[in-house]
Symmetry: C2
Subunit: 358 residues, 2 copies
């Protein structure tokens, strides 16, 4: 806005929308380019021919007393790393992962996803890559990319920058909602590995790696095992929708599920535990290299509260169903982590202290 204010037009000239910084044609072109990506995500429930103003998706038939489960999230300042590295085709996995991994914790099957893409000046190739990634992640999660908004806001974002928000809706039968209420002492706690930091703690991660350590994006510090800083920081968030569906399909008695995001294990595991219960973590597991690198400059306690410690998603299952849960996950090529078990804790235990590290 400021740069435009420097040269006001002569007093009687007329002003157009384009001159004011909004290029409707670029927006229309982006819509055309992303149509094929969105089309590939269609599920049978989508009504494709109607809804000039909105996306339409039928409630799947055969679900007794269906309950809609929804969540919204962004990807935080992982965006800043996308801007620095110019890698825009995987940030969509982060966006979809942040939203869809949340809703599947209830046992919901993902149905559809919408995205909001806000930027100062639309760069077509960047926008196309971002939304292509979103669509690929939707397809992997089994949900339709049903709509989206590309907003060009001149003067709101720095050149080359954008923000993203995602919105996911799923459905579950009321009787099958997984809500943690049946979690009991002795339940097994099984983790799924994350790919790295996923989309949390990037303000701290960037501060440590790019500023305090002053590492180049192309650097390959030993702890990253051959990966560059850029690759390690941009590793896309893993999508756990299919793992949840596979475990539920075995009939395993899943008592709770938790998506490990901001707050880490101590912030997210207790969210699905009844009062008086906690998690005793057992033997240590392998942590991603990027976390080990950051650990050089962040206290262990802070590390635990900010990052996922290499565990992206957690199942709490009845002890007798541990084997079939592990089997279902192994069949997907996973290496599930034996995190520990549910234990009694005093009723007045602090929220985060209910996760007991060894």
């Amino acid at each position: 806005m400021a740069s435009r204010g420097d040269s006001p037009p002569p007093s009687q000239s007329k002003i157009s929308y384009r001159e004011a910084g909004v290029d409707i044609d670029a927006g229309d072109e982006l819509v055309e380019r992303i149509k094929p990506f969105a089309k590939k995500t269609r599920i049978p429930e989508v009504l494709a021919d109607v809804g000039g103003f909105a996306g339409l998706c039928a409630v799947p038939s055969g679900i007794d007393d269906p309950v809609l489960v929804s969540g919204t999230d962004g990807v935080g300042t992982k965006l800043k790393v996308a801007f620095l590295t110019g890698i825009h085709d995987t940030i969509g996995f982060d966006l979809v992962g942040m939203c869809v991994n949340d809703i599947v914790t209830t046992g919901a099957r993902p149905l559809f996803f919408l995205d909001y893409y806000g930027t100062g000046k639309l760069e077509l190739s960047v926008g196309e890559n971002v939304i292509k990634g979103i669509a690929e992640a939707c397809a992997e999660s089994g949900c339709a990319l049903l709509g989206g908004e590309t907003a060009e806001l001149p003067g709101m974002y720095a050149a080359g920058e954008y923000d993203l928000a995602g919105f996911a809706v799923g459905v579950v039968s009321r009787k099958k909602i997984v809500d943690g209420k049946r979690v009991a002492e002795g339940d097994k706690v099984i983790g799924l590995p994350s790919s790295g930091l996923h989309s949390n703690g990037y303000s701290l991660a960037r501060r440590v790696v790019l500023e305090a350590m002053n590492l180049e994006l192309s650097a390959k510090p030993e702890k990253l095992g051959g990966k560059t800083v850029a690759e390690a920081l941009m590793a896309p968030t893993r999508l756990y929708a299919k793992h949840v569906q596979a475990v539920l399909a075995t009939g395993a008695d899943v008592h709770a599920m938790s998506h490990i995001t901001g707050g880490g294990l101590p912030g997210n595991l207790p969210r699905v535990l009844p009062d008086g219960l906690g998690v005793r973590l057992g033997k240590p597991w392998a942590r991603p290299g990027i976390l080990e690198l950051i650990a050089e400059r962040v206290e262990e306690n802070e590390l635990r509260r900010v990052f996922n410690l290499g565990v992206g998603f957690v199942f709490v299952v009845a002890k007798e169903d541990e084997a079939k849960t592990l089997e279902a996950l192994s069949a997907l090529g996973e290496a599930p982590i034996d995190l520990g078990e549910i234990v009694r804790v005093p009723e007045d235990t602090d929220f985060e202290a209910r996760v007991i590290f060894p």
Copy 2:
């Protein structure tokens, strides 16, 4: 980020999340402050006690073959006017209006809404006012504020600025979807007045009013009829959900509905018309003062394509149901606008040319 880079910490000190610019406590405090607002928007379908990671809302019973209708939108650079004026408690009406007015065009009843609030550094009172407005608008639209994300992204937004994205979901019986397919020659076209510009065209509006005309926010140009520039530019978007419900409740044969946003009447009316049909607009209607002011510096054709021209929402109804539609709207205290009627146009008429101005 740049300002923080100026003073790197001594090489072996440990770095905390707060030091990296993220204040988890402020986020938690905002969540507490907005709980009572969100609670007031609850509808009976909301499952309030479950869902640590997501919002849950039952599909309303009694809807044959329910179809979910969803939409996402932002409020564009009307935000810049909010920042300039310090008025943050009505931008939520704009956000909810942009999304919910879209989904109700299908005949859907709004169910729930989620918001994304991205900012560089969370200012509690601003955030509280923004979300209070969102909750009030949700309540007026009959939908639950089911969730939201407040994202603190250090270095992504200028001080005091933020972006907003909204997501709305509604439900309609498949047989009752209003999709424009039955629009026919002779149908009546009825408009509902807007409150001003709603949330479209603000990059142009700001350029004209605040830059080219160089008007102060406190100025009261004659065309604004006693209002200040700030008041006229910040007039909250009107919410049309209850109007739609009232008209549908009369049993009137509503053939199409259109939410007049970016693109104006020529961009939005043809979206719900079958090929070969257009709208012949009749006698001129009163335009908001802010539009008349902007018209001094924008060509009439551009004005029509960018702004709503004082019409926020449009019903296309069977001619014989015009009277009951008008009655239902008048009963809500509305002054509906007789816009004109549906006419035949050659099949190859350009999209926007299908709206025929007198």
